[in-house]
């Protein structure tokens, strides 16, 4: 976690904002290229807008370079505003008196080049977004595609049926024409079934093989279908708000735990409460057209009226994606905090998902497979479990100590 110097006169709000900032931005900032726009979004946009007169926590930065002293002042201020104020810089002292909440010190997070890149971005006016970013990733119409396949398939089948019917009629009339020409009695007009029966009677072995084949295919399909009951791999329901994990966790690199804060403390990782969303979305309205109404939904849910929370609150009804049956006990803290598992192990590449989707089957066999494979390194910081690990190592000489060797596949560990 980043450490930031605190001046003793800073009030609680500062501590909170620092805490929150250090949480949200605790990712690696070693990205080689100083992308001013991206950096602005990551570091500044939470508190500063680029719109005329819109104050979030800090002032709007539109045209800020017209106000501030020239030269290195901007870089010095951003890197360590506290130092600048203490050095007695007049402008710094003046603006520090505007607001009780002091700005974060970015010395440990940003390099001078990066700050300059941010400055360049601010000078562009920032407002106009690149249109390529604005493509609505939620506008995919998968339903229609799959329907199209079905229609084509149906079309082919009906064409084939029609073809058979036509060929049969043609064959019948040709034979009758032949018979007529040769003076033989006309073949009686047979119904479809009698004829089919007669045909089947002639090709008994073939029919039997077909029946067996169809039965086999059918049983396999039924088996697969049955085994799939209650397994919802790929389940990606539509959510009340078009929330993109890719934009938040991927593009903006927000740590999973910033929102899912229970993951190391509770059995549930937790769905962020609306006030957590509003930490950022009080200021961020969305850069694209499609985002704005979605972010507005969050603001409505929180009862935000543009400046304060005065309107009635409306809880958001998210659709749960990863469902486990009631009779299974699963603990996030056990896996993440103690077992040191990555979120992606079970949830897949969330950073790349616009719509969250269940990537793994979440079946018992899937759990057990993992418990059989995953090696437990022991707990260096816990002497009790370390000695237990040594005992297990002795018992299973030459074998890997996996979760199941420690009782990790016993029924009672998950079902009670």
């Amino acid at each position: 976690m980043d450490t930031v110097c605190l001046s003793p006169r800073k009030p609680l709000r500062l501590i909170l904002s620092l805490l929150f900032l250090s949480l949200s931005f605790s990712f690696n900032n070693a990205s080689a290229q100083a992308d001013g726009k991206k950096l602005f979004k990551q570091k500044c946009a939470v508190c500063h807008s680029m719109k005329e007169g819109v104050k979030i926590t800090g002032p709007s930065l539109l045209g800020v370079f017209n106000r501030i002293p020239q030269g290195d002042w901007f870089v010095n201020w951003v890197l360590n505003n506290d130092k600048l104020i203490k050095s007695g810089d007049k402008y710094a002292v003046k603006i520090s008196s505007f607001d009780v909440s002091a700005m974060t010190v970015f010395e440990s997070e940003l390099s001078k080049e990066e700050v300059l890149a941010i400055g360049e971005f601010i000078k562009t006016g920032g407002g106009d977004e690149a249109p390529s970013d604005c493509e609505n990733p939620f506008a995919v119409t998968e339903e229609e595609e799959s329907n199209a396949t079905l229609y084509v398939l149906l079309g082919i089948i009906s064409f084939l049926v029609l073809l058979i019917a036509v060929l049969r009629t043609t064959k019948h009339s040709i034979r009758n024409t032949l018979n007529e020409r040769e003076g033989k009695p006309l073949n009686p007009e047979m119904g479809f079934w009698p004829e089919a029966k007669a045909w089947m009677g002639m090709h008994k072995r073939f029919v039997a093989l077909c029946v067996i084949f169809v039965l086999c295919i059918g049983s396999k399909a039924a088996w697969d279908g049955m085994m799939g009951i209650g397994v919802y791999t790929g389940y990606a329901p539509e959510q009340p708000i078009k929330f993109s994990h890719k934009i938040h966790a991927g593009d903006n690199g927000i740590n999973c735990q910033y929102c899912h804060s229970g993951v190391e403390r509770s059995k549930t990782a937790g769905i962020p409460t609306v006030n957590v969303c509003m930490n950022c979305h009080k200021g961020i309205e969305g850069s694209c057209g499609w985002m704005k109404p979605e972010i507005e939904k969050v603001r409505v849910a929180s009862g935000f009226d543009g400046s304060g929370y005065t309107k009635p609150e409306k809880p958001i009804e998210w659709v749960k994606v990863h469902n486990l049956p009631d009779f299974v006990f699963f603990s996030h803290q056990q896996h993440v905090k103690v077992g040191k598992q990555e979120c992606a192990t079970c949830h897949g590449d969330v950073q790349g998902m616009h719509v969250i989707e269940q990537k793994e089957p979440l079946t018992m066999s899937w759990c057990i497979d993992c418990h059989r494979k995953t090696e437990v390194p022991g707990m260096k910081d816990n002497p009790y479990y370390e000695q237990l690990h040594a005992k297990l190592a002795e018992k299973y000489k030459g074998q890997k100590i996996t979760v199941d060797k420690m009782g990790g596949i016993e029924c009672g560990k998950c079902h009670y």
């Binding site: 229970g262 059995k267 409306k314 049956p325 816990n382 009670y416």
Partner: protein, 1106 residues
């Protein structure tokens, strides 16, 4: 209750015309158009045949089930703004206080996502020291009681707070302006802030008097203490310091005064270990076999009418030995025992304790005299740090009722009391109540009293309320809400704390929370010197839940008895000099004292006792049960299904009678508990009850017992769903000298020649000569620590062998933890706290009386109660009885005065479990830390495991108790009741087997915490629900692989396993019960004599009949 009031539902009913009558008789209000439907010709011509109908039906069923395979949409709705302290999935604990006017305990409330789901004892509380009882464990369910009213009622109709405040306010003002009498009737109040609020109310309205009245009162003791010490309070009892405890009719372990505190102290004085081989001796004189009597080392029969004489005789016997003056007394059949007891008492002067449960001033004056002669004040009895948990004064109540009858009471406010239900018939409260001008009730439901009230202003549940408590002089505790009121605006008009209501009417706009803070800053805070700032003091008190002010006032627990009496006396003197405490002490005393009565000397007291009327053919002693208690929580199905510790009967009260009397009266002896009981008409002073009779070994012949707390008609939905449970025995309470006498000396009992089914849970009374619950005497224990713990050995071809050495099983290792649970039968008093605690923790279903009768109760832990039988192999040999008749006789408990053993039995978690080998689907198997686990989702319900379980601890779900409409009383069926369910334990459904899991959810959570903390699991950090609930620390849970753990240390020479010879290697073990009584041989002889006497009597009776 007779009434001349006419009640009607509507005008039609009032006019009662012929049409209305006919309509009433119809099952459905409207005609069902059946004929029209059948007469429709189109149906005949319809092309839809029966076969088509079935086709459609089949299709729709298939379609519906296919559609059901679709992904169910589960919603996840997070908070908008999450309360800072709530993390979904993590429990929060709040320290609070339980006091319902009867039981006091410092408690911890476990909440999940803001819902209270469990109540545990607060170990920081100096009163209950972490102990609870069944009612406190069950009280969390009462929070989710849908029978609670959701807003105020005025004249029987729902109203609003504004309306009732205005109307009552104006009525009170007009009463006050004419000087009319306003009375507040409540149960004991130990909250200083509540008393202050009442005082404010009284100050505003002038002629206001607060009368405290307890359903089961101790006013005789209060009066006697006023008489002896000029303090109308009860002493704090230190059972842990007493070497000899004598109880005359006091059920001090279950209900008398402060039972949890007593049970804690009692068990502390009886913990045997390698270091300590001394235990107290407990002698009980009583007629019913009470729970306390069942735990006694020596028990003697005394009829209720002889209780007074027993006290007087004990007084004289002690006086003779300690140099006092004798008083007048008459002989009783128990005199030999009394003389013997007096010797024991005198030999332990200053370390003995005599208590008496008779609510009679004269008796209690003599008991005070006995304790004074024995120098017990200052050691086992502490009058300087008195207890305030009983303050009800019967004569004040009687006076109030008389005033009400005379029309002198203009307004009566009832708070946490239900006198229409609890007052004795002779008091005539119900009639008197109707004569009161303004009747206001603070009841949380329309109970028997609130039904007749003009206004009902519902009080909030204690888990929703702020309050404080001052259970004894130096001890204060706070009660804090663990949840916002369930019934509140905007959905309901809401409940409001009674104190808030009183303050409101007194014109004080302060909210009660701030009011308590004000009172504490003025009165409690100055009495301590630990915290400099009030906020600091308040926050710490709130955090700890309990605070002791004026340190040194509390006598040290028994561990420090060696410090000597002189030192104890010195500390006492110090405490008296603390002025702040003294100031407040006085105030509390003033609150409870009554008019100074003329002093009663011991001689006068004995004289009054001598005037007691003689007993009739049958005498009655009323008692309270472990579950429903005084009836306050009668609507709580957990408590109704809790088997009575002694009779093991659920869902009923009944007459307990000696089998000897029953044979004479030709009543059904219910050789097995599932057979029908006879009904009798029992008449006391004009009140007749028809109740079933239960044959109770140990009941004194010529006496009967009936439990109070039953027969509540207006307790709530439970009585609507299952009918009124039992019969109300409060009308049988006698008013003698304006004091409630919970006994009747002359009772008429007639066989009604009808039968009734009782739902018992234990078929066998005795162990039939097997060694399931082992016992020995202290004398033998001192000689040999493993006395009474004979190991079963197996005969093999190579000689006698230990069962563990002869095994078919593979060896198992338990590398990590190896859980163990040890139950000390010496400590277990059988109170049932563990049973209700387990029910709450593990979402155990309530199945109801009918299912209990079919032996389908679901309780995961049961407390087996075994009587000692007169028959054993030696006796059979002497008598020359054969094996068949011997075993038949073995089943019969000793009729007169059998010894009792309580044995809690849950799944024994056998390491080599017989249930596991027979499960065809491997639904039950083992964990590597030694627990036998049950996988419900794997179970297919063959019940083989239950058949193969030698301990009979497996429970099968016969019905879906959580949905089946026959079991609507099960809390899980109710939207409110469901909130009590523990989210960490699955709710089992029909067709699966379930059993004790050794609270595996707690074990897993505890291990996880240790792993997260990176430290070794601390012994005691995991406690099973039963162990935590236990008020006597009889149950110890821990890791057997940890040589230092409490459970490892507990497994000493007394340790044994049930059915050890079968080599199941259970995880649960027991410790031999040790009784501090004479060795068994002598005991047998005694019993023979008694028995022969009785047989003579029987013969006489038979002769008479013939």
């Amino acid at each position: 209750m007779g009434t001349t009031k006419k009640l009607w539902k509507g005008l039609e009913e009032l006019q009662n015309g012929p049409e209305f009558i006919q309509q009433q008789q119809n099952e459905f209000a409207e005609e069902i158009p059946l004929e029209k439907l059948l007469g429709d010709e189109k149906i005949e011509n319809s092309s839809t045949s029966r076969r088509d109908f079935l086709k459609f039906l089949g299709f729709s069923v298939t379609a519906a089930s296919l559609a059901a395979c679709e992904t169910p949409v589960n919603k996840a709705i997070p908070y908008v703004v999450k309360p800072e302290e709530v993390t979904p999935g993590v429990a929060n604990w709040y320290a609070s206080t339980y006091f319902d006017g009867n039981d006091y305990a410092g408690i911890l409330v476990k909440t999940r996502e803001g819902r209270p789901i469990k109540v545990e004892g607060n170990t920081l509380s100096p009163i209950n020291k972490g102990g609870t009882n069944a009612r406190i464990q069950g009280s969390v369910l009462s929070l989710y009681d849908g029978s609670r009213i959701k807003g105020p009622y005025a004249k029987g109709a729902e109203s609003t707070w504004d309306t009732v405040d205005k109307e009552i306010g104006s009525k009170l003002t007009s009463i006050a302006s004419t000087g009319g009498a306003i009375r507040i009737l409540s149960s004991t109040i130990i909250s200083p802030s509540t008393k202050a609020a009442i005082a404010e109310f009284a100050a505003k309205y002038g002629n206001v008097k607060h009368v405290q009245y307890d359903a089961v009162s101790c006013s005789g003791m209060l009066k006697a203490n006023w008489n002896s010490f000029e303090k109308a309070v009860l002493p704090t009892y230190h059972f842990e310091k007493a070497k000899v405890i004598v109880s005359i009719g006091a059920d001090f372990l279950l209900n008398w005064v402060s039972p949890i505190e007593h049970a804690k102290g009692y068990s502390m004085g009886r913990k045997l270990s390698k270091a300590n081989s001394e235990m107290s001796k407990h002698v009980q004189f009583e007629s019913n076999l009470s729970l306390t009597g069942a735990n006694a080392d020596e028990r003697a029969h005394v009829k209720p009418s002889h209780m007074g004489a027993t006290v007087a005789n004990l007084y004289n016997a002690v006086a003779a030995l300690c140099g006092g003056t004798a008083v007048a007394s008459s002989a009783t059949p128990a005199d030999a025992k009394i003389a013997e007891t007096a010797k024991w008492l005198a030999a332990n002067k200053g370390a003995s304790l005599v208590v008496c449960g008779v609510n009679d001033t004269a008796c209690q004056v003599l008991v005070n005299g006995i304790n004074t002669m024995l120098n017990n004040y200052g050691s086992t009895l502490d009058m300087d740090s008195p207890s305030y948990v009983r303050q009800g004064m019967d004569d004040e109540f009687a006076e109030l009722v008389n005033d009400m009858k005379a029309g002198k009471v203009a307004a009566l406010i009832t708070y946490n009391t239900n006198p229409v239900y609890t007052a004795p018939a002779s008091a005539g409260f119900a009639e008197a109540y109707k004569k009161v001008g303004l009747k206001v009730s603070f009841a949380d439901r329309i109970d028997e009293t609130a039904e007749w009230a003009d206004y009902v202003c519902p009080d909030s549940h204690y888990l929703e309320s702020w309050n404080d408590a001052n259970p004894s002089l130096a001890h204060y505790s706070l009660q804090q809400p663990a949840i916002m009121p369930l019934f509140a605006k905007p959905r309901h008009e809401g409940t409001r704390q009674a104190q808030q209501t009183l303050l409101h009417w007194a014109g004080n706009k302060m909210d009660y929370h701030s009011y308590i803070q004000k009172i504490w800053s003025e009165r409690v805070y100055p009495m301590q010197g630990k915290y400099m700032m009030f906020t600091e003091f308040w926050n710490n008190s709130l955090h700890d839940g309990a605070v002791t002010v004026g340190t040194g006032k509390v006598l040290m627990p028994s561990g420090e008895t060696d410090s000597g009496k002189d030192e104890a006396k010195n500390t006492k003197k110090d405490t008296v000099s603390i002025s702040g405490a003294g100031m407040f002490k006085q105030e509390m005393v003033v609150d409870v004292k009554t008019e100074p009565a003329p002093k009663m000397s011991a001689g006068e007291a004995a004289g009054m006792i001598a005037k007691w009327p003689k007993g009739g053919a049958f005498e009655l002693a009323l008692y309270e049960k472990a579950g429903p208690g005084n009836g306050l929580q009668a609507n709580n199905p957990w408590l109704q299904e809790l088997p009575d510790p002694i009779t093991r009967v659920t869902w009923d009260n009944y007459v307990t009678m000696s089998p000897i009397d029953m044979k004479i009266m030709n009543l059904s002896l219910m050789e097995r508990q599932d057979r029908d009981a006879s009904l009798v008409n029992i008449t006391v002073g004009g009140v007749t009850l028809k109740l079933p009779v239960f044959p109770q070994p140990g009941q004194m012949p010529g006496t009967v017992g009936i439990a109070l707390g039953y027969g509540r008609t207006k307790a709530g939905m439970l009585s609507d769903k299952v009918g009124v449970v039992g019969q109300n025995a409060y009308p049988l309470v006698q008013m003698v000298n304006n004091q409630m006498m919970y006994a009747a000396f002359d009772v008429k009992i007639e066989n009604a020649n009808e039968y009734y089914k009782l739902a018992g849970t234990q078929i066998h009374h005795t162990m039939m000569g097997r060694h399931l619950a082992k016992s020995t005497t202290l004398e033998e224990f001192k000689k040999d620590a493993s006395a009474g713990n004979e190991r079963e050995m197996l005969h093999t071809h190579s000689g006698l062998k230990n069962p563990t050495d002869v095994t078919l099983w593979d060896k198992f290792d338990r590398l990590g933890h190896r859980w163990g649970l040890t139950i000390d039968l010496t400590s277990c008093i059988g109170c049932g706290a563990c049973v209700v605690g387990c029910t709450a923790e593990n979402n155990v279903a309530v199945v109801g009386k009918d299912q209990v009768m079919r032996t389908r109760e679901m309780l995961w832990i049961r407390i087996d109660r075994y009587y000692e039988s007169d028959m054993n192999e030696h006796v059979a040999e002497e008598k020359g009885e054969g094996a068949v008749s011997m075993y038949l006789d073995m089943e019969k408990p000793a009729e007169l005065n059998p010894k009792v053993i309580f044995q809690p039995v849950m799944c024994q978690h056998c390491n080599q479990a017989p249930c596991e080998t027979v499960c065809p689907v491997i639904a039950t198997n083992h964990t590597s830390d030694g627990l036998n686990v049950m996988t419900y989702n794997r179970c297919v319900g063959t019940r083989y495991c239950a058949n193969n379980c030698p301990y009979k601890v497996r429970r099968f779900n016969w019905y879906n108790y959580n949905a089946n409409t026959d079991y609507t009383f099960n809390p899980a069926q109710d939207d409110l009741g469901r909130m009590v369910l523990n989210p960490d334990v699955v709710v089992r459904s029909r067709g699966v087997m379930e059993k004790c899991s050794m609270c595996i959810q707690r074990v897993q959570a505890g291990k996880l915490e240790a792993k997260k903390a990176g430290a070794k699991l601390v012994d005691g950090s995991i406690q099973t629900a039963c162990a935590q609930a236990c008020p006597t620390n009889a149950i110890v849970f821990g890791d057997l692989n940890d040589a230092e753990s409490a459970v490892t240390k507990a497994r000493d020479e007394r340790n044994y396993f049930m059915l050890e010879e079968m080599n199941f290697q259970p995880t649960v073990s027991y410790k031999v019960k040790v009784r501090n009584c004479a060795p068994t041989e002598m005991h047998h002889e005694e019993k023979h004599e008694e028995h022969q006497e009785e047989k003579h009597e029987e013969k006489h009776e038979e002769k008479k009949e013939s």
